[in-house]
């Protein structure tokens, strides 16, 4: 019987000829990523033995640079850990700083066909690279770092066959919102993306989808390999790998054909994402206090470019705080070189250093009582970005940028059609 992408990766990682939904397997973890919250004094358990320091990646991303003394102490614990075990792949505040899932992408650490774990829920981001990547929480992360192993209970897979091409101004964030609206949650299922339209989606676009798979409540969200993906990895990481293609007779819980040309810009209403999205026009006019573009899902170069196109030659509306947080310092530098940062800053955006920042309500743009925010990040949950009474809408970077200019939730088409010069 044939296997899906995830089944093939996990069969290999667990030393089985085949695996199937329902199986509980123990798999070798090829890459284990620790982030700064792993070292919170209230969470960290001191590891005495590591399976292999070369499998470890340590990234400080959630709260950088340290905004308070507690965090400064947590960073110190992390640096001690790195020094004690001689971990080479360490990303501290500075030139190499960034969000762990973005760093994993840029460095090609999520090798196709391998298993990658991190405590963070958006680790599924690495699925864009044909990697069985998953957030596992602190206890399983420590277990994987110490023993080199982790466990998975195999889920059935839903296959999305992508056709056509997204229309101008529509991005995979809109596609994600459409999936959440149309099909609801994907609990206890993997998602596999493939089909002829893959070639039209760059790696940034794919990574938005794989990252947001977490918000569909999916187990893994993986992409079938193609030349775009394989070349991206080979340019970044010389390590050998074996990409996994689905078998022709793989068994899927369901196959769904999607025509990308039918997708339109959507916005999720506050407090939840699943079955809570409407066309932007239906939320238009809602006054906002803050607009945010950033996170592991939408802090990519494509996202900053989309925002710059919308705001070029314009000014952020009075009373609106427009915050832009690149996913990594490397993206920041590329955006400077491309002129996007200049355009954003001249429009009145505040561009921060790379960090998870406002997405998690940790720092760099925390919401106050009864404020309204529109965000291109990962979550609109109650209390997520600050005060629990704040209302968080979620949309694409272009929609967020247009809303920052208008001061109310606004369709970006209105700005792009007016022919602004970038």
């Amino acid at each position: 019987m044939g296997m899906t992408v995830v089944e093939k990766i996990l069969a290999r990682a667990s030393g089985h000829a085949t695996v199937a939904p329902g199986d509980l397997i123990v798999a070798n973890a090829d890459t284990v990523v620790l982030i700064d919250p792993s070292f919170y004094p209230g969470i960290w358990r001191e590891i005495l033995k590591l399976d292999d320091p070369r499998k470890i990646v340590v990234v400080f991303d959630h709260r950088v640079p340290a905004p308070d003394r507690t965090v400064a102490g947590m960073h110190a614990i992390g640096r001690d850990f790195v020094a004690r075990f001689g971990i080479d792949r360490f990303f501290d505040v500075g030139y190499d700083q960034g969000i762990s899932h973005v760093i994993v992408a840029e460095r090609g650490y999520a090798l196709p066909g391998t298993v990658l774990v991190c405590s963070d829920s958006h680790t599924g981001s690495g699925g864009a690279f044909n990697c069985a990547a998953r957030g596992v929480g602190a206890p399983d992360l420590v277990y994987a770092a110490a023993t080199g192993q982790t466990w998975f209970e195999l889920c059935p897979t839903i296959r999305y066959e992508l056709h056509g091409c997204l229309r101008p101004g529509v991005v995979t964030k809109d596609l994600f919102l459409w999936l959440a609206q149309t099909f609801g949650d994907h609990s206890d299922h993997n998602i596999e993306f493939g089909g002829p339209a893959l070639a039209t989606l760059g790696m940034d676009a794919r990574r938005t989808l794989s990252t947001m798979g977490t918000e569909l409540n999916a187990e893994f969200s993986v992409f079938e390999p193609d030349d775009v993906l394989l070349n991206y990895i080979r340019e970044r990481n010389p390590a050998p790998f074996e990409a996994q293609y689905p078998d022709a007779d793989a068994t899927y819980a369901e196959r769904r054909d999607l025509d990308l040309a039918t997708i339109e810009p959507l916005v999720a209403l506050p407090d939840r994402i699943i079955r809570n999205a409407v066309p932007v026009s239906q939320a238009a006019g809602e006054r906002i206090h803050q607009a945010f573009i950033g996170s592991c899902a939408n802090g990519n170069l494509d996202d900053l470019a989309a925002a710059a196109r919308v705001v070029a030659g314009r000014r952020v509306a009075p009373g609106v705080r427009f915050l832009v947080t690149p996913g990594s310092q490397a993206i920041y530098r590329q955006a400077v070189a491309a002129g996007y940062i200049g355009v954003l800053v001249n429009a009145g955006a505040v561009v921060t250093n790379a960090t998870c920042g406002a997405c998690g309500g940790g720092h760099m743009g925390v919401l106050g009582p009864n404020e309204t925010c529109i965000t291109a990040s990962t979550r609109n949950y109650k209390g997520r970005m600050g005060d629990p009474s704040a209302r968080i809408y979620m949309a694409s970077p272009a929609t967020v940028a247009a809303s920052a200019i208008a001061g109310t939730i606004t369709h970006a088409g209105e700005f792009l059609q007016q022919g602004a010069v970038t």
Binding site: K49, A138, E215, N217, Y381, G383
Partner: protein, 166 residues
């Protein structure tokens, strides 16, 4: 057999609701004071050890933060939901919170009723209505970890991590 008073919560209960971001910096025993502060202020003062939390679909969706540990520290007898987010479930196993998937459980209980749960027989019974539902199976190895305090005691015994200094 676990028997306890039921508290009901709806669909998509996120880990942000159980452990808000600002509480992450606190020490373990202070974190549990923040559970459901945003959606049900004061609940942590009403809930008693042994009570049972019943949720809807996708319970525990969201961040991988140790929200399960706060629920365990509040003394929740067990958590039952129509479906449980798999990362949250991993943390339930890892931190030793008994968490059970049981499609239909949310509709079968009113708040304040008594639930009787048998992990071994995989059943949950509403003491008031008599309705009995079956719990989805949990692989034996995971159930054993979940019922015996989670992963850290195991790693400690095997010398992989240092004991906690209280």
């Amino acid at each position: 057999m676990i028997s306890g008073r039921v508290w009901k919560f709806g669909d998509n209960i996120s880990t942000d609701l159980m452990l808000p971001g600002p509480a992450l910096a606190l020490v373990e025993k202070e974190q549990m004071r923040w559970v459901f502060q945003a959606n049900r202020p004061g609940w942590v003062d009403e809930v008693r050890p042994g009570d049972i939390v019943i949720g809807g679909r996708s319970y525990g969706i969201g961040s991988g933060r140790p929200a399960a540990r706060s629920m365990r520290n509040l003394g929740i007898g067990c958590l039952i939901a129509d479906s449980i987010n798999r990362l949250f479930f991993r943390n339930c196993v890892g931190y030793g919170l008994i968490a059970l998937s049981c499609p239909g459980v949310s509709a079968a209980f009113e708040e304040g009723q008594i639930a009787e749960v048998s992990v071994a027989a995989r059943t949950v019974r509403n003491q008031t209505t008599g309705q009995t539902l079956s719990i989805n199976p949990i692989p034996e190895r995971l159930a054993k970890l979940m019922l015996s305090g989670g992963i850290y005691p195991l790693l400690e015994r095997e010398g992989f991590i240092a004991p906690l200094v209280a």
